[in-house]
Structure formats: structure tokens, C-alpha cells
Amino acid sequence: MIGELAILTVGDGDTKLTFDPEKPDEMARASAVVKDMIRRGFAILIQVGEQDGEPIYRRAHDFDEKTAEYIIAGAPDNLEIDDVKEPPSPPQKSRAAKTPARARSSQTRIPASGAKATAIARTAGG
């Protein structure tokens, strides 16, 4: 399977980076770019599953350049979205902050070669 990262860019709409295990050079270059993007504050959002036919995304907190894996905070179980019905106020805390300390300290690794992701640069407000 070939992983794909769409980078939202000025000028091109979106540019795609691919992670193809059969092309190690290309994969190493893409890994270096992703690591650099995380260092520069890009938000990289990984599709981790589906709910009711709609994709579920999580933000990658880091990227392991050696193994080409996205690192997401929380254990795999925490990646499931709760079916919270009607809390009417805007979100005050991140999901990670609501999870128990033990789960928060754990990490999930998602191989880039099998993931679909989108990268968004730091924002200027508006």
C-alpha cells in the first residue's frame, strides 16, 4: 500500500508526497520533509478510521524518520471517537487532556506507507 500526504500549498492547491515501500529513496526524502514540517509547526492530520462512513482524523505529534511512522498521542483505544451527544459549549480542552495520565503517556505509531494524511501550515489568524 502507498501512503499519501496532501500538503495544502499556495499556488498549487495541494501537493502530494507519497510513501511507497518499494521506493526507499523517495520514502526517505518524504520522511525528511514530514519531519521538517512538524519542526516548523505544520499540523499533520492522519486518517485513523471511519465512523458512519466519514473519516476520523487525529493530529500527529511527531514523526519517526527512521521507521517512517506518524506518532499520535494516546493508546489505540483512545482513537475511537465517543458518541458525545449535546454538550453545547465550545471545546475547552483537548481530547488528550481528558484521557487518563497512563493513556496520555502512551503513543500510537501509524506507518506512513499505509496512511492518508493532510498537512496544514501554521496559521496567520484572520
Binding site: 500549498t9 499556495v10 492547491g13 499540523a43 481530547r95 496559521t123 489568524g125
Partner: protein, 223 residues
């Protein structure tokens, strides 16, 4: 295309924003060469036009429903004034002007990307009206994502959930940069919508943190 190639060579992975005459760029300060790019096409102030008045403070007055300016004159005198703000026509006109920076191909690519992220009904609404709704399963907040306008965050009224929705605010943010006093970002309009949607889905708390939260009664909210 040349700008894109230069950007990739320099490692500016999200490209280089396009400076436009008469529309100053506000660029995320840590972005490479942000200040230099913003200085291109920036009008040079003519000292002859300086009447000596300086802005001391500026704030929004609920009573007057506009911004109040406090100024100091060349002889030390203090004056104040109102900035009328009853509509967003100036922002709309400036947004029209910013369209010069975008390409149809890029917008089409962004539409294709968005089409893969939302349902058929949502995409239909977006193509026909420029907006679509999505409810956050995490917070229960309902978002109205809009092309070239801040995303509207709504929630049921706590005291009377059966009544109409209450508007929380207009959420405005643009990746990399935006054109001052407009609703236009450096990226094509639908790429901005994709950025809002993805951040909301992937990290809702960060989405709110990165956005300017405009009260619904301000022209900047675009309501």
C-alpha cells in the same frame, strides 16, 4: 510556477504567498522571510502626509457598536473618534481584489480534495451555496464552513435547547497568510475551508486556539 519551484528548493513546503498591490499581506511571523515578503508592494509612507497624530489605544464599544480610537495630536492634545462598522462591504471588495492571487486550477484541485472529505450532500451544498454544516461529535458544536467567510460555530441554547441555535462566534484563520482587511487567504478559498475542516476534525481544541474568534455582531464575522 516559478514561485512554487523556488519554494520547494528552499524547503518552504506550503509555498510562497503572493504579494498584491494595495492589499497588505499578514504573514505568520515564523514563516521563512515573512517580513521581506510582506514588505513587497507595501506603500511607502510620505512624510508630507504625516499630520502628527498618533494612535494611543483602540477598543470595541458595545454601546456605540464600533471601534473607538484614542489619539494624541502633535501638540499633545488628546482626541477620539469612532470607526463606523455596520457592514462588511470593505472586506468584500478587498476579497474580490485578492482573487487575483488564486488560480482556477488550484481551486479545482482543492474542490476535489474537499470532495473526498465530506459527504455528497455536504459537497452539493458547498458547490451550490458556498457553505456546508458539520456537527462535532466531540463537542456537539455545529459548524457552518463557508467559502471566503469565517466558519460559524453554533450550539443549542443551554437554557432552552429546543429553541434556535445560539451563535458562539465566527472562527477565522488562514494557513501561512491572509490579505489585510479582507476574508481572503494566501491559499485558494477552498483550501482554507479544507484547513478549517481538517483541524476541526483532527484537533478541535487546536482549531479554536488557532482561530481569531469574531463576535457575531462584528463585520469581521461576515454575518
Amino acid at each position: 510556477m516559478a514561485l512554487r519551484e523556488i519554494a520547494m528548493m528552499r524547503g518552504d513546503w506550503a509555498g510562497i504567498p503572493m504579494p498584491l498591490a494595495d492589499l497588505p499581506l499578514i504573514i505568520e511571523p515564523s514563516y521563512p522571510n515573512a517580513e521581506k515578503i510582506a514588505d513587497i508592494n507595501r506603500p511607502i509612507a510620505d512624510p508630507a502626509d504625516d499630520d502628527g497624530w498618533r494612535l494611543i489605544n483602540q477598543w470595541y464599544s458595545d454601546k456605540h457598536r464600533c471601534d473607538i480610537l484614542l489619539m494624541r495630536g502633535p501638540d499633545g492634545q488628546i482626541g477620539w473618534g469612532k470607526v463606523p462598522a455596520v457592514h462588511g462591504l470593505t472586506q468584500q471588495i478587498n476579497t474580490l481584489g485578492a482573487s487575483e492571487a488564486w488560480g482556477l486550477d488550484q481551486e479545482q484541485a482543492a474542490m476535489l480534495l474537499l470532495g473526498g472529505l465530506i459527504s455528497h450532500d455536504q459537497m452539493r451544498q458547498y458547490v451550490l451555496t458556498g457553505s456546508f454544516l458539520e456537527k462535532s461529535d466531540q463537542s456537539g458544536v455545529i459548524y457552518m464552513f463557508r467559502r471566503l467567510r469565517p466558519t460559524v460555530a453554533m450550539a443549542p441554547d443551554r437554557g432552552n435547547p429546543a429553541a434556535n441555535m445560539r451563535i458562539l462566534c465566527g472562527l477565522c484563520m488562514h494557513p501561512i497568510a491572509y490579505y489585510s482587511n479582507s476574508w481572503a487567504g494566501a491559499m485558494t478559498p477552498t483550501d482554507d475551508v479544507v484547513a478549517h475542516l481538517m483541524l476541526m476534525r483532527g484537533d478541535e481544541h487546536m482549531f479554536w486556539k488557532r482561530c481569531n474568534q469574531h463576535p457575531p455582531y462584528r463585520p469581521e464575522a461576515g454575518l
